[in-house]
């Protein structure tokens, strides 16, 4: 019995072994491998976008120099060209390379996804852990606020917040993060209630650790595990929501590349340029699909009804 130990276990016993077991089991699942692979590939491509895309300047928002020429094809401000050797996926409304814009758009999507989930987790943890730790009226008040936020259709609230703050990169992830945290708050509270009753918390109290210290050093690290699954699931949803906001004109502003904006711009060319609407959406779909597959497979693995293999 480690009743008087000053430090709490970072992982409960066998955690590392269980992680290994999980990875070994999941790596045999083709869909899981596809999901992880696609996310990894896209993350690397997005991270290296300035070096690996054919026209990095256009990705940053500069116009195509010289503008692409393709006679007999619809023109926006420059020519919207079909896929060719020089523009693998065609060009967009300003004549820029679609592939380049998509890869840079992925960068935006992934960054906003990560920021949104991080902000949501931070708020959720702060609310959930304090609710669990202090209990009583603090718990009651915090959880009622959580309920109110949970009962909003969150995209509507996000729309309102972005409209208030003005459309920009920051306001998008702030709006999404501020509307996203209730699920994390509930999860964190549930887990922290369990952790709170452990002996090492009692020991820490007896040793005179401050409330803040107990929450940060003992309850927080031990409440994180169940949140990770939710985080991977929410990445996909957050990316989808971000693209949706952009599609409604309430997302990232040009010249920043964005998948939602690309799809929105393509609407006027629907009857004349099939590639324009198809490709950005396809990448968006595959990215969200990958996050969902990964989340789904982990969930299946953790589901007790599936039986322990």
């Amino acid at each position: 019995m480690r009743l008087w130990s000053r430090s709490s276990p970072r992982w409960d016993a066998g955690g590392l072994f269980r992680l290994f077991h999980a990875l070994r089991f999941l790596s045999r699942d083709r869909l899981f491998v596809f999901g992880v692979g696609f996310i990894g590939a896209m993350a690397i491509a997005a991270g290296l976008a300035p070096w690996i895309t054919p026209y990095p300047q256009q990705g940053l928002g500069y116009a195509a120099e010289p503008p692409p020429q393709c006679p007999g094809i619809p023109t926006g401000i420059a020519d919207v060209c079909p896929p060719s050797a020089s523009n693998l996926l065609g060009t967009e409304i300003l004549g820029r390379d679609l592939l380049t814009r998509i890869v840079f758009g992925m960068q935006t999507s992934l960054l906003i996804g990560v920021y949104t989930v991080a902000l949501a987790v931070a708020i959720g943890l702060a609310v959930g852990l304090s609710a669990a730790f202090f209990g009583g009226w603090v718990d009651e008040a915090l959880m009622r606020v959580t309920d109110i936020f949970l009962s909003f259709p969150h995209l509507i609230l996000a729309l309102l917040i972005v409209a208030t703050l003005g459309a920009s990169f920051t306001s998008v992830f702030v709006a999404l993060g501020v509307t996203w945290w209730p699920a994390f708050a509930r999860l964190a509270r549930g887990r922290a209630l369990v952790v709170k009753s452990q002996n090492y918390i009692l020991a820490a109290k007896a040793a005179g650790t401050s409330n803040g210290g107990i929450i940060l050093k003992h309850i927080l690290p031990n409440s994180l595990a169940p949140l990770t699954v939710q985080m991977s699931l929410d990445m996909g949803v957050a990316i989808l929501a971000e693209a949706g906001l952009s599609f409604l004109g309430l997302g990232v502003r040009p010249p920043t590349a964005d998948l939602g904006v690309l799809i929105f711009d393509s609407r006027n060319f629907l009857t004349t340029a099939w590639w324009y609407a198809l490709f950005p959406g396809l990448f968006l779909f595959l990215l969200v699909l990958s996050f969902n597959l990964v989340g789904d497979r982990i969930n299946t693995y953790l589901d007790p009804r599936m039986g322990r293999r």
Partner: protein, 338 residues
């Protein structure tokens, strides 16, 4: 529920006072004299202390007065919303129904073939449907079934359908589909339902994915129970066991999910109505209120009163559906009442 409604109103009120721009100027117009602006300040009560303003706002909301919209030339907001709500609810209801009709049998089949090929295929479909961006799906459907194979119109039931005929069709429920049906205007009914096919499909795929998963997991829980084995031993047909004995007990959580889907589809409706340019509808109104529609290219001209009114109404609907979901759950399982 009352707490949620009060909370919503408070949040919208707080947001409306974070706006940098002065609403009085927006109401009075760009080229107004200071005296006119002063008049609007008094009319809107902006010169009163905040708590008095909140009191007035609460009173107005509870008496159904959501204020005036400045993007629709100072028209009162409630009638605007009342006009567009029925069409949007029709869309959402049709999509939810479709999700139930298609998703539940597929979910049952997935559970029946648990772990085998059909199950895996259905699983990929359900995960895929959930990952589809609805606005992109709507565009693709337009492209495939509107442009290349011109079967369905790519936009608008539009008000024009109701007025080009010899006489104006009376607005009874406000929903075009229902109105043309109950007044027996078959040509118009056909035109409208035809133009709603693609929007409903693009709205329904996401919930179909959700329903398949939910039905599957509910069915798996039931199929492993003893009474199912007993029925098998009695020699009851497999079909009968699945659909009459197991599904009946697996259904409650699925119905709850359907109620939640109905609530959540407000958001999908916004995108789909926007893409298909379905004119009197919530989507159109929301896009208008945020000042970002195709029609209004000027960013920043947010129609605040309208946006707030919409938020309140949508949240009320959402809360009501959630409440209905809770009630359904209680109806099926009395143990929930403690």
């Amino acid at each position: 529920m009352a707490v949620v409604v009060l909370g919503t109103i408070t949040v919208t009120f707080v947001l409306s006072h974070l706006v940098p721009s002065n609403p009085a100027i927006l109401f009075a117009g760009q080229n107004s004299t200071p005296a006119e602006v002063q008049l609007w300040i008094q009319r809107l009560g902006l010169d009163k202390p905040l708590y008095v303003q909140f009191e007035i706002y609460l009173e107005q909301v509870f008496t159904g007065n959501l204020g005036l919209s400045y993007s629709f030339s100072n028209a009162p907001i409630l009638p605007l919303i009342e006009q567009s709500l029925p069409n949007s609810i029709t869309l959402a209801a049709l999509a939810t129904t479709l999700a139930g009709v298609i998703g539940i049998p597929l979910g049952v089949e997935a559970a029946r073939h648990g772990g085998k090929n059909l199950d895996s295929v259905l699983r990929i479909f359900s995960v895929g449907f959930v990952a589809l961006p609805q606005f992109w799906l709507a565009l693709l459907l337009q492209l495939a079934l509107g442009v290349y194979l011109p079967i369905f119109p790519i936009s608008s039931y539009g008000g024009s359908v109701l007025y080009t005929s010899q006489h104006i069709i009376p607005s009874i429920t406000g929903s075009y589909l229902v109105d043309t049906f109950i007044t027996g205007h078959w040509a118009e009914f056909q035109a409208i339902s035809w133009s709603m096919v693609l929007p409903v499909i693009s709205l329904a795929l996401y919930p179909i994915g959700v329903v398949i998963r939910q039905t599957r997991s509910a069915m798996l829980g039931i199929l492993s129970q003893d009474y199912i084995r007993t029925s098998r031993a009695y020699g009851i047909s497999e079909r009968s066991i699945n659909y009459r004995y197991a599904l009946r007990n697996a259904l409650p959580p699925v119905i709850v999910i359907l109620a939640l889907i109905l609530a959540g589809s407000t958001i999908g409706v916004v995108f789909v109505e926007d893409v298909f340019a379905l004119s009197p509808g919530l989507g159109n109104l929301i896009v208008q209120s945020t000042g970002t529609g195709i029609t209004s290219s000027a960013i920043g001209a947010i129609d605040y009163p309208l946006a707030l009114g919409l938020t309140i109404v949508v949240t009320l609907l959402y809360t009501a559906s959630n409440f209905a979901a809770d009630m359904i759950q209680i109806y099926f399982d009395r143990r929930i009442i403690r």
